[in-house]
Symmetry: C3
Subunit: 333 residues, 3 copies
């Protein structure tokens, strides 16, 4: 595996899930693979879960880790040619990125959407420069449009819970495959679409019945959602759901590019509370974290025994380890 | 050992000192214990000695280390329930702390007293949240009220010097056990009481004759000092001292809660100079560092051959290694 | 080796180059040497290449690495004696530096010239304090006046290319030894002289024909350049050059101390473009990076197949590994 951005990069999902459960049982079993291999983690944006879980995963594999925090303001790379670089950009990406590739075997990059220029964001301008010029495999630690380590961890969590339910006669599992509803929920700030994009992409590829619930205007890019049912009536969407994946995102600008990155609704009736959960099939609550209580979800729901937010976070170590393991195996070849 | 905050956590002090000397002789002897174990070091406040020595100790033990710098201002955790989180706090501690616990085996936390709210500080609100919610053993790297890694390192230093003196006929060791005087000294800024609190607590538990010298109003909390002699006459206190432990602290607010965190005195006659040291039993000078020369101590005293400030700092690696070793052994069980 | 500042510290250059090529072939061959040894990297200034390459080199050698970022403004060390430290300096270097030495086996320091006080800069005040008080070997990661890890990497790069040329009959190598021209080039900011100082020092010691091309007033300190030819006519200097090492530096203040650190020229005719390169012996272009395109060099030249900027950067890992290996061998003794 040379890049990890999309669900296709991981190949067969059943095989990936099987490997994830093996890795979870034996986290330190592949240290020969990572020995003397270096992961360079580059953060253009802050990180808690992604930073800790990816670093932990790399160390599990016996890798060396170098963390580089790039303050978004401080390190401006020139990207144009034919420029006299006498301004605030002290280095050209055509030098900076190959140099970073010199000192590592794998590069992981976090670079969020700016939400100002849809074309720039959706072209994945920053991370694609790393793919093109670093000479190294590149792993997304949330880019402008995708967050596949999160989506993979979410899939592992759903798989674990569903397997558990199916083997439990008392759970009365009435569906052949789980109904997973990703529902938009209100937020006070404009957030990128990376998490819902990836979750939609992974759920479409997984063996689940996937529905997206959202207000009008929040349609995600079809390149991620194609095949998914979209419901504008949240109540109807949540009926009989086995898993409720709440998330806010700002306007993806699909129908109205001028609205890209804007907050179109703060409708608090979309906040997931106990009444919302009562519409489901005794469903589980999920969120990628960090979550704003009172906006996305109530205290009662997130603290209930149906909340999977901590197991999801814990599985970030596992998704990262499987991905790094696959990339390391690719290096061997 | 599941937590390390107070002297009681380390158990028998003679055994702990014996183990410290063994660790000092053989720092890399327990790497099997730390293999594939991860220490997460969380800093809400700056650190030089604590950061370097604790990281070094963990690496001596073969552990992986992840360092997380939390700018006190940047990462505000919501602690209340029933709140609509639409302000500057983007995550609730009930999610953030369990998540951090997912990616490590031991958590070490530095979080200083704010000195504005005595009840909040002395309740150890921040670190107790880590104890309660992280699911991991928690080690104090200086909290609002204690700094036990420092106090343990200081005890090791006193023990080493006293053993050396007792085995040296020329030293004319006239005391059965060392007289240790912790003396307040002036400073230009309001400082927390964590270091003097812990030093008092550890000296009370150790086989020493312990005296606290301080101006009126600087009485430390009796939960740390109980049993210790308090002298308001510094000259009298220093007479015949074997070890002089200088430290500034702001008003602990025991007698007058309204004065908590205030500077009550800048009396420069309390600065430790050669005359002060002449009152002692050819005593050693100690300080936890960083120290402000000219306020706490003169150049002559801190640079003299009776100054133990560098050996104290060097023993921080040892105290941290013993503590982490004990915690690791607890994980095994 | 106890310090690494000057070319003399590395001893015989042929032996050092031979060792560099061996290390490059077998980067992980000396891990027993670095086992349980700790490198403390202290940055008073930002770093990309130096940080990544030195950390990588230390990890190649099996060392533990602790990185300490010292914001130049935040951590002010008192250096005077007899001072009452009641200002913004919270620690004296006489405590801070020995303490840092306690927790490591080797110290690497980056501290740039301030360009305000020539005597202070050229006395290497900061790093010499580490040499004098840390008790540890000290490696320069660019100081006020030298950047030897860069110069050594440049020498390795020249040696590799020249060896390749000599073994290639088609290359028509007409010189017995390479002509290396270091040429000043314009820049929008005042830069230190560390890189050109070290490059001059190393080239003077190497088996090359070395020429410095520069405008009047940019004469480097003779302690670094002695023996080197200086040309004020860039065209004449570049004629028949095998390697063109472009670099900007501010006025070294040798002839006119009052001009120290000033920009004396922004003459864009010194920018290296294809015409400049046409004057050479099909020469290679070199630069230490980061480089400002349009000022130092044109896009065409730096992107051409005669550009060595990425191989130079890659050899930073090798120069650092040889240096750390030598220092580790010195510890054994």
């Amino acid at each position: 595996m040379r890049t990890f951005f999309n669900v296709q990069d991981i190949g067969d999902l059943d095989a990936a899930l099987k490997e994830a459960l093996e890795v979870k049982e034996n986290r330190f079993g592949c240290q020969q693979l990572g020995k003397n291999k270096t992961l360079l983690m580059i953060f253009f944006n802050n990180s808690l879960r992604t930073r800790l879980s990816t670093q932990k995963a790399a160390m599990n594999l016996g890798m060396n880790v170098i963390v580089l925090d790039v303050n978004a303001g401080a390190w401006k790379l020139e990207t144009e040619r034919g420029i006299i670089m006498d301004g605030d950009k002290s280095e050209h990406l055509l030098e900076a990125i190959p140099v970073m590739g010199c000192y590592c075997d794998i590069i992981a990059v976090r670079s969020f959407a700016g939400l100002r220029d849809r074309d720039y964001d959706y072209a994945e301008t920053i991370v694609n420069q790393f793919v093109k010029y670093s000479g190294r495999p590149v792993v997304a630690m949330e880019t402008a449009t995708v967050h596949p380590l999160q989506a993979f961890a979410d899939l592992i969590t759903i798989h674990e819970k569903w397997t558990e339910l199916q083997s439990n006669p008392a759970a009365k599992c009435t569906h052949d495959r789980p109904k997973v509803v990703m529902t938009w929920a209100p937020h006070c700030r404009a957030l990128p679409q990376a998490v819902p994009n990836s979750f939609a992409q992974w759920m479409n590829a997984a063996d689940v019945d996937f529905v997206i619930a959202q207000p009008e205007g929040y349609e995600l890019d079809p390149m991620f959602t194609k095949g998914a049912k979209i419901e504008y009536d949240q109540h109807k969407a949540l009926e009989d759901a086995d898993f409720v994946y709440a998330k806010n995102w700002s306007c993806p600008g699909v129908k109205s590019p001028a609205d890209y990155g804007k907050i179109l609704s703060k409708d608090m009736s979309w906040t997931i509370d106990e009444e919302h959960m009562s519409w489901t099939n005794n469903g589980y609550f999920m969120h990628c974290l960090p979550v704003r209580r009172g906006l996305i979800v109530t205290d009662e729901v997130i603290e209930s025994d149906r909340s999977l937010v901590i197991p999801e976070a814990a599985n970030r170590e596992i998704s990262a380890e499987v991905v790094l393991k696959r990339v390391l195996e690719g290096l061997e070849g």
